[in-house]
């Protein structure tokens, strides 16, 4: 089973916004999105058990190579980085188009992504990729096993999980905490440097419609929360009960 994993480089500290209202991505501390590590771990476990290779695809500035190196250190065998100045500020739709085109260049049975990035939180890219590729998608996956129909998938719900039979190829997003991502060994980090990283150009991808469909016109800080009410003394218990009742918790 060949798996393509989508990976993103995200800022590790508090991200800063540039004059164009976009996150400054160069020269800041950044790492592979921790949310992506779950998908990657699931993919690595699948290929370790059932054969096949893991390819990591990322779109971003040159620094996104770090995220790919991390994924290669964890055990992926090939990296693909799509980097082009014209993609700066790409919205979710453009990102999905680019990723879909890049994924299409490689043989795959499964595409794995995190549920959402931990910087943008749109959560729409993976399903859009599935739509563009014309394949099925299942979100919030906690377990996946190959089956006769393709894959047997457990999807997290509020109450527990649903079980799906899904034809392959498909796109799945993996829930945080469903697997324990491995910590790359130093040997892995060293070997990662020898692994191939393809850098297809936009022409190679043959993508059209790469103009952002959305622009950020203004950014306003969320209003800070007003301080809560501090209850003390003998009346505290009664007051807390009142407040909980007001909040319709009890």
């Amino acid at each position: 089973m060949n798996v393509v994993v989508c990976a993103k480089l995200v800022p590790t500290g508090t991200p800063t916004l540039g004059p164009d209202h976009l996150v400054v991505r160069s020269g800041t501390d950044a790492a592979l999105d921790p949310g992506d590590e779950y998908g990657l771990e699931l993919a690595l476990q699948l290929t370790e058990q059932h054969g096949g290779d893991v390819t990591v695809v990322s779109m971003g500035p040159d620094e996104a190579g770090q995220a790919i190196q991390r994924a290669l250190a964890m055990g992926a065998s090939r990296g693909v980085l799509v980097s082009d100045p014209s993609l700066r500020g790409a919205d979710a739709l453009v990102t999905a188009r680019v990723l879909a085109a890049a994924i299409g260049m490689y043989p795959f049975d499964l595409v794995v992504a995190g549920v959402e990035s931990t910087d943008g939180y749109t959560g729409t890219v993976p399903v859009t990729v599935a739509e563009i590729l014309g394949i099925a998608s299942v979100t919030a996956v906690r377990r996946l096993e190959p089956s006769d129909a393709g894959a047997r998938i457990e999807r997290m719900t509020e109450r527990g999980y649903d079980v799906y039979e899904c034809p392959l190829p498909a796109v799945v997003t993996v829930t945080a905490g469903s697997v324990e991502p491995r910590f790359p060994s130093l040997k892995g980090i060293m070997q990662a440097k020898q692994k191939p990283v393809d850098r297809p150009s936009l022409q190679d991808l043959g993508s059209r419609d790469l103009t952002a469909t959305q622009t950020v016109t203004a950014v306003t800080d969320a209003p800070t929360k007003a301080g809560g009410e501090v209850v003390q003394g003998d009346e505290a218990v009664g007051r807390i009960v009142e407040l909980l009742a007001e909040a319709k918790v009890i």
């Binding site: 500290g13 790492a31 060994s185 130093l186």
Partner: protein
Amino acid sequence: MAVLTVAVTLFWRRARSRLEVLRAARPAARTDHPGERARRELSHVLGQRKLFQKAAPGVMHAFIFWGFLVLLPTIVEAMLAAIDRHWTFPYLGHVAWFAFLQDLFATLVVVGVAIAFTIRKIQRPDRFRGSHMEEADRILLAILGIVTTLLLWNASRIALGIAGHPAAAPVADGLSGLFGAGRGTEVAERVLVWSHLLLVLGFLTYLPRSKHLHIITAAPNVYLATNHPRGYLEPLRIDLDSADADVRLGASVATDLSRKQVLDLFSCTECGRCQEVCPAWNTGKALSPKLLIMDLRDQVAKEAPLITAGAAGIVELQPLVPNAVADQVVWDCVTCGACVRECPVDIEHVDTIVDLRRNLVMAESRFPNEAGAMLRGVESSENPWGQSASARTDWTASVEDIRVLQPGDPPPEILFWVGCAGAFDERAQRTTQSIARLLTAAGVDYAILGPRERCTGDPARRMGHEYLFQMLAEANVEILNGAGVTKIVASCAHCFNTLANEYPDYGGAYEVVHHTELLSALVAEGRLRPDPAGGRGSVTYHDACYLGRHNGRYDAPREVLRAAGAAAVEMPRHGERSFCCGAGGARMWMEETEGTRINDTRFAEAEATGAETVATACPYCFVMLDDAAKAKGSAVRVADVATLLAESTLAEPGG
């Protein structure tokens, strides 16, 4: 002559395989400061200093050891006499004092063997669990046989009138009554001298493959012991850009061990003193430092032919973990160094354990899952808590006038190294605040690095991630040197140890003091005036391993407590023999599921003193013992020495 040749040849053939294993091992750079090493030979080997850490076994061993030193020439004397009963040393063979020494020390050896058997057969201490008891019995009986035949031989010579000074050898003289003066005694004399010699030579051939090899290996092992404070780990430089084959990532197979590490294995006599003090073993964990050394030794011995052949070709050695030592054993260690302190022959268990961890973490990425969060935190956020750097100054919110050293600022007289625990852990923050208030009250010119401070790398290093440590050490040294820092006060015993002992290897040489030392000095100088009448009640001080045993700082925290008006009571295990809180060696970030909890065990010991307060001097100890107190619902308070001093000194101690 033929017998001698056979024995020596056998000995040499057996010893050579050990020697070749040593030769094939990684060289250990342990020959600096020969003066200090020679002094250690005098105290540890000749003086038997570490043996005397236990009284009866110390006397037992010293009698046997000194006895054998004195009796070594006797072997040659016996050989000469074996050829011709009248042959002896030109000078020694004729003087009364040598006859006296021989008689005295042979007797002392007999006494020593008797003590040994009493300990082993009647006392039966638990430290021998897992040791080869029958082998020990064989060795002791052989020793007994050697000296008894010697004494009886001398007695027979007295009876025959060959010996010059019967009065100088009262024991042999007394025994000579057993013999007549006739033909029978002449035969007995021959039989005895030959029995003595055959026993000695037989023992020689038995040595190389037995645990008794220590009589040859112990002295060099003591010589090669580290000259650094015990908390120091030797750096393993990792350059990721060099060729794969050149990068050593700790100890995977036997040939990855250094000569000192291999010599350690051949020096162990299985006395179990290390096992007796090990916090892991004492709380029902799999790790015993003694069994670890024995298991590694057995694998190295088993693979000896492969190892020595390996110099010429490629061999498949089995990984030491899990073949010789189970994974869990390697992770049980708190790196408290109690084993190393007890070991009479200076075996360095902790260094070997860390080397095994290095391979598991850096090459195999195999370690207890839960510790991954710590490594991730240190890797991406530069602190084990995974907090953002900007939160490092959160604790200053309730303390006035904390100077955060900005780039380009003039350096303070003392840099206060807060440490990650002191900055992020809610309980440890109280200690940090107490220290800051005290320093301000004493008018000390100090500053903190704030967000520019990173983890020293200690937890990563003790966990085995040497590369992560190296990166953090280099980054911290760059900041500290760039800021012109010359003197540092650290509140965490682990930071203290790393900054003081390990950063010099990375270009960071500073005068590093622990906060208890600085506070003690400030009190002595009169810059802090605690009110001794404040009455802190009875306090028992828990020595942090990385402050006490690893760095010899025992007095300063106790002085501070006295100044604060505390009535000190000591736990049975204190000072050099303090018992770990359970958090060292990155155990702070690992689950403790086997046996009883180390912190509970230690806290119970503290509670049993009847003290109202347990004082600590390290945030790890504080958190571990406080957890234990809370779990037990105990009324005993756990607090840092600095907090207690602040309460006695400051009008508003806060915190």
